[in-house]
């Protein structure tokens, strides 16, 4: 197994400054920018497909029926954005661009720094107010459901989106979601322990159970949380026999879904401790 994790040596000065400004602590590892192969493959495939059809239609219009010019024009109009998209992605990718090869996500003890084309920005795990994670099933050795696209809103109003086209999300996505959920859990629990309901998208964690659109699933019926993946990922409450109970919500559209999972587990552990 080969891992693209780089040593702490040779951090760029802007990265060091950004990290120290937010007290991120020690540098742990870095993830280099990746060449967005799926994006290039998709745009390249469409460019070739429509390009061949457009070329054929143009040839047909020249040697045959001039009415085919209409079809040729339409096909060229579809080919052009596909080809431009392919070239745009290729020229900005680390495979071609020397500058893009310098882009990295640097993970520190208390957060991360993303050095990219638009600048270098630092975030702390505990400054993430909302995290939306789109999951994918990776067949690699990293395991099953892993975030491939993450949207973040920080407490200071900054927004960030990081996808599989930027870095290896099978590894960084997993790390990011775990660290953010661990940082958010004490805050959510502290708020809950004061008697407040805590809302995660369409789900609200209350003293009595988990509510979904006014319907409450009591804690006595909840055995845990399950995330299933079909075309998208869905989160459901399950009982102790893993039978679905209550709501099934789109995990990718749910803010702080991982914190919700940890919170339900923490409350269930506490309730089981009391029950014994």
């Amino acid at each position: 197994m080969t891992l693209l994790v780089e040593s702490a040596l040779g951090l760029a000065p802007d990265v060091t400054v950004a990290a120290s400004m937010r007290n991120l602590g020690e540098h742990r590892e870095s993830y280099p920018a990746v060449t967005p192969k799926p994006l290039m493959l998709a745009s390249g495939m469409f460019a070739v497909l429509f390009g061949v059809l457009a070329g054929g239609a143009t040839w047909g219009a020249i040697v045959g029926d001039p009415a085919v010019w209409i079809a040729a024009t339409i096909l060229w109009a579809i080919t052009a954005p596909c080809l431009l998209g392919f070239l745009w992605v290729l020229l900005r990718s680390p495979a071609v661009s020397r500058r893009a090869r310098q882009f990295r996500v640097h993970v520190f003890e208390h957060g991360w720094v993303w050095a990219r084309r638009s600048g270098t920005e630092a975030y702390r795990w505990d400054e993430v107010q909302a995290l939306f994670a789109n999951l994918a099933v990776f067949t690699a050795e990293v395991g099953s459901r892993t975030p491939y696209g993450i949207r973040i809103a920080a407490v200071d109003g900054r927004r960030m989106e990081i996808w599989q086209v930027h870095v290896d999300m099978a590894r960084f996505g997993r790390l990011l979601t775990a660290r953010v959920a661990q940082a958010q859990l004490p805050k959510a629990m502290a708020y809950f322990d004061k008697g407040n309901p805590v809302t995660f998208g369409d789900l609200t964690v209350t003293d009595d159970g988990v509510a979904f659109q006014g319907i409450l699933t009591p804690w006595s019926e909840i055995g845990g949380v399950e995330i299933d993946h079909t075309d998208q990922s869905y989160l459901s409450l399950v009982d102790r026999q893993y039978r679905r109970r209550g709501a099934r919500v789109n995990f990718g559209l749910m803010a702080n879904g991982y914190t919700f999972v940890l919170m339900v587990e923490a409350i269930l552990t506490k309730l089981r401790g009391v029950g014994q």
């Binding site: 209409i70 109009a77 107010q129 909302a130 949207r151 407040n196 559209l253 749910m254």
Partner: protein, 118 residues
Amino acid sequence: MAKPKAGVVVGASVLAMIGVVFFVVAAFSSGGEVTCDGKTMRPSDVCLEVAKDGRKTYHNFAELKAEQDARRPVLLGALGGIGGLFVLAAGGFLVAGSRENKKDQAQIEAAAAWMRAG
């Protein structure tokens, strides 16, 4: 209405652009001139059509005008319809993106309550 994300705007713009291409092609195809082998005919011209079996047929201006005028609305309808579908899809994409962003915003604000308290 909340502003949709940049990706949604780009996607909607591409769809709308493809729709506009269909409209432009439809507009260029809507000219009233009568053509023979792609060339504009004058009322005094005669068009010779040679079939695959070598059979020759002569058409005058009036015959071709009637034939092409009957075909034009179908072509315009098809091109305009497809173009309209692309533009409608772009609009739908934008509206859905705005709604999703509004929902995201509500969730971000809801999280602020416990983030601040913790």
